[in-house]
Symmetry: C2
Subunit: 320 residues, 2 copies
């Protein structure tokens, strides 16, 4: 019995509150990629939707809840994808959405947040600075602060991916999950460990943004002073204690990968799978590249969590 | 009442003979692309599967039928995607699959056909030469010749895309479909015209490979001496009379687009939708680009039919 803040019955029920456009995403074996990696690789593709990431699974739950409570506004800090997702979910329910992001976030993510009609406020500093400012706005305006990974809806929304993986009945040995704040890792991990306990749950984080992995290893919150990674979507410094507790209950391992492996992963996903993805979505492939023996001959599922990437930067990365 | 060789009840039943991995593909609105094109654009994505094109919807039916009849082998001519799909469907059912293709087909398509365990025979000349050779092999070996667009399974398999579009309940004004041999155009067209007769069915073909469009316009088979297009997947010269008859019954229009528009379509799909696709899959966007007034403010669905593209050529195209 896995005990976390998440609840399987709620996760199952959540599916009916999420717009179907975000559910039942493609899950398919990619032989070409598998040949390159020396294992069987299944792709769970979370990018073929209006916000090009998995985040709307969670914001659909949050926005539903808020609309049901008669709320009219919400604010969140975002590295870029949560803001788009909340913008999309909020717009459909008449919510005024404010997103706080770092000025350093990819322009393409910021543009798409604005295009969804959300109010975008930029701050100097990184994602953690955006989190502080979003909390201030919430207090000042008396509106709901949506906190990625802390708010149970963001974790349980992401957990519906785990339901789909478990329901697929495929015999995965391992699922590789990008680790940032922890919503997708704890969500998918909880669903899998509850329904398919034999499937190994491995979280993957960049060496350049290792706070949650260090925390998981030491079983206590470890923060870092800075981050240095192209994987902007997972670049936090302050793990949330409640989320770490959940992660400790569901993750079999947490590994750190180098930037060069993330880039190699981006390149392989393009060349072998025809997928343009953001760096966070290449973490799983990077983990296999760094430890081929560990995964040799196994069946690995990797969640392609987002494709909001600045194309100029992308082409620079994959050409080097 | 639309009368073609296709049958709605059979198409509905076909869904249970097709591996679910190829069904219920993503259908979502892409606002960024819509803004560029001046209309509402929905994407029907047929590339997130093991063969990266829609063709397996048809080969699943063919291979099922053959396996049920106790056959052990089949041969087809292919521009590259049918061969992969038949290779995949055949392998799963223990069929020996032979694919005949033009030596000029994209290397990436040929490599993937081989990787699926199919026997690949290359011929000089174009797709029509491959068709002749495949017919010879069928006679010599006494094995089933799978003929794309002529064989009803290839059309009715593709028609399941039309079912999904009709069932989505979205209020499309228009569906844009790549036109080559005609399987996807007649299939999707038939399903839509039967279930959602108000949806306009527009077929799009390259100016450099216009045989079927000329045939549709003149209501009789018109052949051409050569083709000249980067859209290798739709570059046939000899329309099949039965398929033309079906197309005449379901298509509201057939339009021809320039190569430069196909390239612009490829670029927009990458930049605005994050999708790397093969040229045939960009025909719908190319059609909008060439006649913006016609589509202004309308809701257009475009089927992204394949993503098997040589990346070197792709990058050359989109950079020019």
């Amino acid at each position: 019995m896995i005990t976390t803040r998440l609840d399987l019955a709620r996760i199952r029920a959540a599916r009916s509150d999420i717009d179907p456009i975000f559910l039942n995403t493609p899950l398919y074996q990619c032989d070409a990629l598998g040949r390159e990696l020396g294992c069987t690789v299944s792709i769970k593709l979370e990018t073929a939707n209006p916000v090009r990431s998995f985040k709307a699974r969670g914001t659909e739950l949050v926005a539903n809840l808020l609309a049901g409570q008669g709320r009219t506004a919400a604010v969140c800090a975002s590295a870029g994808n949560l803001g788009q997702a909340l913008g999309w979910s909020g717009r459909r329910r008449g919510l005024d959405v404010t997103v706080v992001a770092s000025r350093a976030a990819p322009a393409v993510k910021l543009d798409r947040i604005r295009a969804l009609g959300a109010e975008l406020e930029l701050v100097d500093g990184d994602f953690e600075a955006a989190r502080e400012r979003a909390a201030d706005i919430s207090l000042q305006r008396g509106i709901r602060l949506v906190q990625d990974s802390l708010d149970i809806e963001t974790c349980e929304g992401a957990a519906t991916i785990g339901l789909e993986l478990a329901d697929a009945g495929s015999s995965f040995d391992t699922v590789l999950i990008a680790l940032g704040g922890g919503a997708i890792a704890t969500g998918v991990g909880y669903a899998l460990k509850t329904l398919s306990p034999d499937v190994e749950v491995i979280c993957v984080q960049p060496l350049g943004a290792p706070a949650m992995t260090h925390s998981w290893r030491r079983r206590r919150v470890v923060t870092t002073d800075s981050t240095d990674t192209i994987a902007d979507g997972v670049a936090g410094r302050f793990p949330i204690p409640e989320v770490l507790d959940d992660l400790l209950a569901v993750a079999d391992d947490a590994v750190l990968v180098q930037e060069s492996s993330i880039v190699a992963g981006l390149r392989l996903l393009l060349e072998q799978a025809g997928l343009v993805v953001e760096p966070s979505a290449a973490l799983g492939v990077a983990a296999v590249l760094e430890d081929r023996d560990r995964f040799a001959g196994r069946h690995v599922a990797t969640i392609i969590c987002g494709s909001n990437v600045d194309l100029d930067a992308y082409h620079r990365w994959i050409r080097t």
